[in-house]
């Protein structure tokens, strides 16, 4: 595996704006993506993700501002940019009466490869995305997951520096999504590719992206990695520590289901600790809110009380929480 060098700014958006009539699809976007990064563009449908991508490829002219790819202005020299960027549109389609291989060879030849080179590269890529068996089949007969994998081969056939994937996981089953994302990550690490991924599936983006940008109605309202974003957003929030507790003897007490007597004692003990603000219990799980990281002390207290401590974890804020929080803020303002 190649060492990933994060240095050069390979994609730069400077005050990028696109207006359709009175609607502002992209509003003064400033964003820099460095080489080798996997960047996730997040946002609801119609937030301007696709428009940004189209402007980056020179397929749509920005109303104002610039989109630079590898230092080249995409609006002025679209062909130069498209030589270096592989683009997988959402809902990609192929010529249905051509085979998967023929489709790839055609695209490779549009990138000025000879027929022999194109065929060699296409066969190699079909192998890497696991479509060797289906290479001679017409793409009209491909399943959605196969089409998507063929799309990835199609993007890679021009040996790009950057790949742009617009909603790449739409319409694939969960297992397929997992495999597909792994494939993207593996390929991008192997080839040292910069990946720009747009999605509204937060869970998936969180798994693969180095950094994310959150897009809401044309504006990039936050960017950074998930940890930074959550630290920034939830800085005023208390720590939440979750403990899986098994209280011997009392757990199956039919007289007071769900609230064994020992819980009260444990809760009181915990609440007496400095920094603990709230304790709640439900079905063997205890949720403790505290000012700092008190996990060691809490563990000691639970064990000392005679209860069995099964698990102890600090609650991490995921993209889901971050996303929801931003929307709450948006609506409040």
């Amino acid at each position: 595996m190649k060492e990933r060098i994060i240095s050069e700014n390979i994609i730069e958006f400077v005050e990028l704006t696109k207006q359709y009539g009175t609607l502002t699809a992209v509003d003064h976007l400033n964003l820099t993506i460095t080489r080798g990064e996997i960047f996730g563009l997040l946002g609801p449908n119609g937030a301007g993700k696709s428009t940004t991508i189209l402007m980056m490829l020179g397929l749509t002219e920005p109303t104002s501002g610039r989109a630079l790819v590898g230092g080249i202005n995409a609006t002025v020299f679209p062909v130069e940019v498209k030589r270096r960027v592989g683009y997988l549109p959402d809902n990609v389609g192929f010529y249905q009466d051509m085979t998967g291989l023929e489709n790839l060879v055609y695209i490779a030849r549009l990138n000025r490869l000879s027929h022999r080179e194109a065929t060699e590269r296409a066969v190699g890529l079909l192998d890497r995305v696991g479509l060797t068996e289906a290479a001679g089949k017409k793409t009209g007969k491909y399943s959605r997951g196969m089409i998507q994998r063929l799309g990835l081969a199609d993007v890679l056939i021009k040996n790009p520096d950057i790949i742009v994937l617009d909603e790449p996981t739409l319409g694939i089953d969960p297992r397929g999504i997992r495999e597909f994302l792994d494939l993207i990550v593996r390929l991008s690490r192997e080839e040292n590719l910069t990946v720009l991924l747009s999605s509204h599936h937060l869970q998936q983006v969180q798994q693969v992206c180095d950094r994310v940008g959150i897009f809401v109605s044309g504006k990039l309202i936050a960017k950074g990695d998930v940890a930074t974003l959550s630290a920034k957003l939830f800085s005023g929030e208390p720590y939440i520590i979750e403990a899986g507790v098994h209280l011997t003897g009392d757990a199956d007490d039919p007289a007071s289901p769900g609230q064994p007597a020992a819980v009260g004692g444990l809760r009181d003990t915990l609440l007496r600790m400095e920094g603990v603000s709230a304790v709640s219990y439900r079905g063997g799980h205890m949720k403790i809110s505290c000012a700092g990281d008190l996990s060691a002390e809490i563990a000691r207290a639970i064990v000392a009380s005679g209860a069995a401590l099964n698990t102890l974890s600090k609650k991490e804020y995921g993209l889901d929480d971050i996303y929801r929080r931003y929307f709450e803020k948006q609506e409040a303002s």
């Binding site: 809902n91 695209i107 549009l110 000879s114 027929h115």
Partner: protein, 338 residues
């Protein structure tokens, strides 16, 4: 797996070593692909079969009537061969009239889904993301269809010429051959006009069916209703043949003729008739003074071409205009995958 290798074995045979190593410009690659798409499609096979039948039918009627057409003192008797293309006994129209009618159908069917099919298949944005200029796609579509049309018409017509030579035993003179060639070029131009019109609709309309129906509606309008409308107008404004001054009558004739010439089919019919029937001297009204003293005889090719020049220019202009419009609206089109 064996099938897979078999497939590559076939591919290897298909291309010679040199061909496989060559790097072609993207435009050429696109044109290759479009031509092979067109030629392999069912509609082309059906239309080709239709054209072959047309050729055979008109050749047959021409041949059966050829004996009757030979007159002892015909000044145009040395232009006998052209009659293969124009003779008819009324049961089947002659070849050039057939083409007037069928040409639009061929043009429309080759172009009506040029752009919107790419869009509906969601291949448009994928192709546009390749390092090619945006106009390559529409140019490739047009060039490919033009190549297909040209090859088809040249092949069919030359086959008719060849069959005619074998059957009647008289080779065409150089003049006749050049007339046939001009007729061919004119035909291709005429079909190209309809091709461009349908490409224009394929850019404008998202549904292939809408675009096809609109093109066909225009075709039917010009080949059926337009003439009826012209006749109605002509009847309404006809000056009295007894009292009107001759200048007015000529003006009236020119107006009616000018109106009917707005139909591309009429232009084509005028031009082909002049080219294939060398004795046609004028396409407009002639006064007695102009006709008086003329010796009946065929015009040389240069003179015939001179007569059809305006028609030719009109057809070229209409074709270019249609292409320009489709080009413009394609360049302005938003490339969206959904």
């Amino acid at each position: 797996m064996t099938k897979f290798f078999q497939f590559f074995g076939d591919l290897k045979e298909k291309y010679t070593a040199g061909e496989r190593e060559k790097v072609y410009s993207p435009l050429r690659v696109m044109v290759f692909k479009e031509v092979s798409d067109q030629v392999r499609s069912w509609r082309f096979i059906i239309l080709g079969a239709l054209m072959v039948l047309t050729c055979m039918g008109s050749l047959y009627t021409a041949l059966t009537n050829l004996a009757k057409a030979v007159k002892p003192h015909d000044p145009a008797s040395h232009l006998f061969f052209l009659k293969l293309f124009t003779l008819s006994d009324g049961t089947l129209p002659p070849f050039h009239v057939f083409v007037t009618f069928l040409g639009p159908l061929i043009g429309i069917s080759l172009g009506f889904d040029a752009i919107n099919a790419e869009q509906n298949n969601r291949t448009l944005s994928r192709i546009m993301a390749q390092p090619v200029h945006r106009d390559y796609l529409i140019n490739a579509k047009f060039i490919a269809a033009l190549i297909v049309i040209s090859v088809m018409f040249f092949a069919l017509n030359l086959l008719v010429v060849g069959a005619g030579m074998i059957i009647i035993g008289i080779p065409p003179t150089l003049g006749e051959f050049l007339r046939i060639l001009s007729f061919l070029i004119l035909t291709i131009l005429y079909v190209a006009f309809w091709l461009n019109l349908s490409i224009l609709f394929s850019v404008k309309f998202r549904q292939a069916a809408t675009s096809a129906l609109t093109s066909i509606a225009i075709w039917i309008f010009f080949s059926v209703f337009y003439q009826i409308i012209i006749k109605l107008i002509a009847k309404a404004i006809i000056p009295s043949p007894y009292s009107a001054p001759p200048g007015l009558i000529i003006k009236y004739q020119k107006l009616v003729l000018g109106l009917s010439r707005l139909a591309p089919g009429h232009l084509f019919r005028d031009a082909t008739t002049t080219l294939l029937v060398p004795s046609v001297r004028s396409l407009g009204p002639l006064t007695m003074r102009q006709v008086y003293g003329t010796i009946p005889g065929p015009l040389p090719l240069g003179q015939s071409l001179l007569i059809v020049w305006p028609q030719l220019t009109g057809l070229i202009a209409a074709t270019v205009l249609c292409f320009a419009f489709s080009y413009l609206s394609f360049m302005r089109k938003e490339i969206r995958s959904s």
